[in-house]
């Protein structure tokens, strides 16, 4: 195979030098008449960030960082020989993805069961049915140490074992695909990219507890995921992997899809069950837990998409193998949907124990703007923010909880200096207030009241005693709410209060929003000395609050201004000051 040299400038603080660098290397290769032996290629992403000019050699994948022109001859000479590298320049990326749940995503055709089987699919099911039997299967899951990936992190084997031990003529399994956290979409990707792995996991769960019926609860907002799961179920029926006498054994299972109408609370298991039963989707007190008394009063196991997608691998490779990955309390991998102010947004799967910094800086390349990261939000509306100085914390269930956030389903939002730490909890709390089912008062009333205080503070009408009041209501909600939604809805507020109280005080005492997000606290003014009198701001102002002309200049009428920021955005000379 011809050698390939990939080049990329990874320093985002200056103008991109990839092209010049490429030309210099190409010149060197032309001079040496090496064009037949190597190809130089400019790439869009080389997997390393903030390391100056980077070269990657293929095959082999050796990476050289901070390359100077003097290094080029050495590097090319080494590249032309087998197994030779230039010592001292080689870079070993620390942060690596570990694709376990996403093993087939982007690899196989999600609409073809044959491709799934050809990649080792349904062999886990075969092993369970023909070799293990339910007890050994649950034992294997216990050894693996896998915990629920939906957020709470309850050990999967315990759920299964409870349901197995209950004596009942009928039992159910449910796949919880009601993914609702803002910014989280890893379940959708797994359902769309590898539907059979989730179905296989669900069949195995059904076998473990002795269920003969199963449901896929998917939100209707995921039409493609629904379509692909539907097709996958049909294919599995055709191959005898669902229905009567699965793989020629005595085990029977029927699977059905139920669509959720997009209520966030229906991701909570008791509300989800009510929704499948055709009732209004509201939670009810536990215990009894669904494992004992669930759907139609029968023992029911509800597992998250990501949990189920892990099961086939655990079976084929063994619980012991799985338990090697991760930390002492959290085994395996976790998929995160990294969004927000990050350069490479998308899905990242890491072994538990990788640090948040590995994820947002090592794999995702830091912020888009190059500005420093202020914090990372995990766990969606039930989670909290983790400030920049704690980003070296290894990711696992316990660590994130200690910091006042949660693992959650896997949403991860990167926050930079332009984001306001009063505005962010206001957004999440607003989401929970809208999604609260209204059944219990702590969540219904508490959330609404807290949101009121946050609005007041963001409008510059807050008082110092409001912070104490926020904390008091938050505590009441945590203690007294019926389900997880209310119990965790205050987390974004509490965690921002914990780490960014100064920013709250800035809003309350100095009536200032440091990030310039809270529109009530921002004023726009035109700087006379920078203004070129082009009039662009005046044309773009939607409320005609910028009178003036090209001779006399322009100014903003503060009482008319609606603080939309259009003038600030359109000014080409940075003559509009935002304060």
């Amino acid at each position: 195979m011809r050698k390939v040299i990939l080049v990329k400038d990874t320093d985002t603080k200056r103008a991109d030098q990839t092209r010049d660098f490429y030309t210099r290397i190409l010149d060197y290769i032309r001079q040496g008449n090496l064009l037949e032996q190597v190809q130089v290629v400019r790439v869009a992403d080389i997997g390393v960030y903030g390391q100056g000019l980077v070269i990657k050699i293929l095959p082999g994948g050796v990476i050289y960082t901070n390359v100077s022109d003097n290094d080029i001859p050495k590097i090319i000479e080494a590249a032309l020989q087998e197994n030779k590298v230039v010592q001292g320049l080689v870079f070993e990326p620390k942060a690596k993805q570990y694709r376990l749940v996403l093993r087939n995503c982007g690899k196989i055709d999600p609409e073809s069961i044959d491709e799934y089987i050809a990649s080792g699919g349904y062999l886990g099911l075969k092993k369970v049915l023909t070799e293990l039997g339910p007890e050994k299967l649950i034992e294997e899951i216990k050894t693996s140490g896998i915990r629920g990936r939906g957020g709470a992190g309850y050990p999967t084997w315990m759920k299964w074992n409870f349901a197995r031990e209950v004596d009942s003529a009928e039992k159910f399994v449910i796949c919880n695909a009601d993914e609702g956290d803002p910014g989280a979409y890893m379940d959708r990707s797994v359902l769309e990219g590898d539907p059979h792995s989730v179905i296989e996991g669900l069949i195995i769960a059904a076998f473990a507890i002795g269920a003969s019926r199963g449901y896929f609860y998917i939100r209707a907002e995921y039409p493609l995921a629904v379509e692909r799961i539907k097709r996958a179920i049909e294919q599995a029926y055709a191959y005898g992997l669902l229905g009567q006498n699965i793989l020629g054994t005595a085990f029977n299972l029927d699977l059905e899809i139920r669509l959720g109408a997009g209520a966030f609370v229906c991701g909570e298991e008791t509300a989800l069950i009510a929704s499948i039963e055709g009732k209004r989707g509201t939670p009810h007190p536990r215990p009894p837990y669904p494992s004992v008394k669930g759907l139609w009063g029968k023992p029911t196991v509800i597992n998250n998409v990501e949990t189920l997608a892990n099961i086939p691998v655990i079976i084929t490779k063994g619980g012991k193998w799985f338990a090697q990955i991760g930390t002492t309390t959290s085994k395996g991998t976790k998929v995160f949907a990294v969004t927000g102010k990050v350069k490479n947004s998308g899905l990242v799967e890491i072994a538990m124990g990788a640090t948040l910094r590995d994820i947002v800086e090592g794999i995702c390349g830091g912020t888009f703007s190059g500005k420093p990261i202020k914090a990372v939000q995990t766990g969606g509306p039930s989670g909290g923010v983790i400030p920049q100085e704690l980003l070296d914390t290894p990711v696992d269930y316990e660590n994130l909880q200690k910091l006042g956030s949660i693992m959650g389903s896997g949403g991860m939002i990167v926050i930079d200096e332009d984001d306001c730490m009063v505005d962010i909890p206001k957004f999440y709390l607003g989401f929970c207030v809208e999604e609260s089912c209204g059944k219990c008062a702590p969540c219904r009333v508490g959330g609404f009241q807290m949101l009121g205080y946050l609005k007041k503070i963001s409008e510059g009408k807050g008082k110092p005693e409001d912070l104490g009041q926020l904390r008091r209501i938050a505590q009441a909600m945590q203690k007294a709410s019926l389900c997880g939604l209310g119990q965790t809805a205050s987390n974004p507020v509490l965690s921002t209060l914990k780490y960014f109280e100064t920013e709250y005080n800035e809003h309350i005492i100095n009536k200032r929003c440091p990030a310039g997000k809270c529109s009530h606290l921002v004023t726009y003014t035109i700087l006379e000395d920078k203004c070129k009198r082009c009039g662009l701001c005046a044309i773009n102002c939607p409320v005609k609050a910028i009178p003036g002309d090209k001779e006399n200049g322009y100014s903003i009428l503060q009482d008319k201004c609606i603080k939309c920021g259009r003038c600030f955005d359109v000014c080409k000379f940075k003559a509009v000051l935002k304060k």
Partner: protein, 115 residues
């Protein structure tokens, strides 16, 4: 279709399903389709027919790099497998002309190398 037995399953998992030597995979999950993957997929299918190329065009799920959708993975004998990102019809044309025909990697659009 016949119901499978454990033996059939074992057999199927070992036989590789009609994998052509060279192939192009287009990421066709919601994120890819939203970014124009369907158009790119159709374009590849048409062009390959038109140009009479010996390469299979396939669909797959999202590979995770959502910021660079539509993603297209290209595997051609003699070249490393790579994922091209932000692919449109122009980039797709260069992939066919340069990568598939001339066996040279295309500049500026590679987001990941799979060795």
């Amino acid at each position: 279709m016949n119901k499978l037995t454990p033996v059939d399953l074992e057999k199927m998992s070992q036989t590789k399903t009609g994998q052509a030597k060279d192939w192009i995979k287009v990421g066709m999950s919601s994120c890819g389709i939203a970014a124009g993957a369907q158009e790119v997929y159709n374009f590849f299918v048409e062009e390959v027919k038109k140009r009479n190329l010996q390469i299979e065009i396939k669909k797959c799920g999202c590979a995770g790099a959502c910021y660079a959708e539509p993603l297209v993975e290209v595997s051609v004998e003699g070249l490393p497998s790579v994922i091209y990102g932000t692919v449109n019809k122009e980039v797709a044309t260069s992939i066919l002309e340069k990568h598939v025909n001339a066996k040279r990697l295309v500049n500026d659009y590679i987001f990941e190398v799979l060795a």
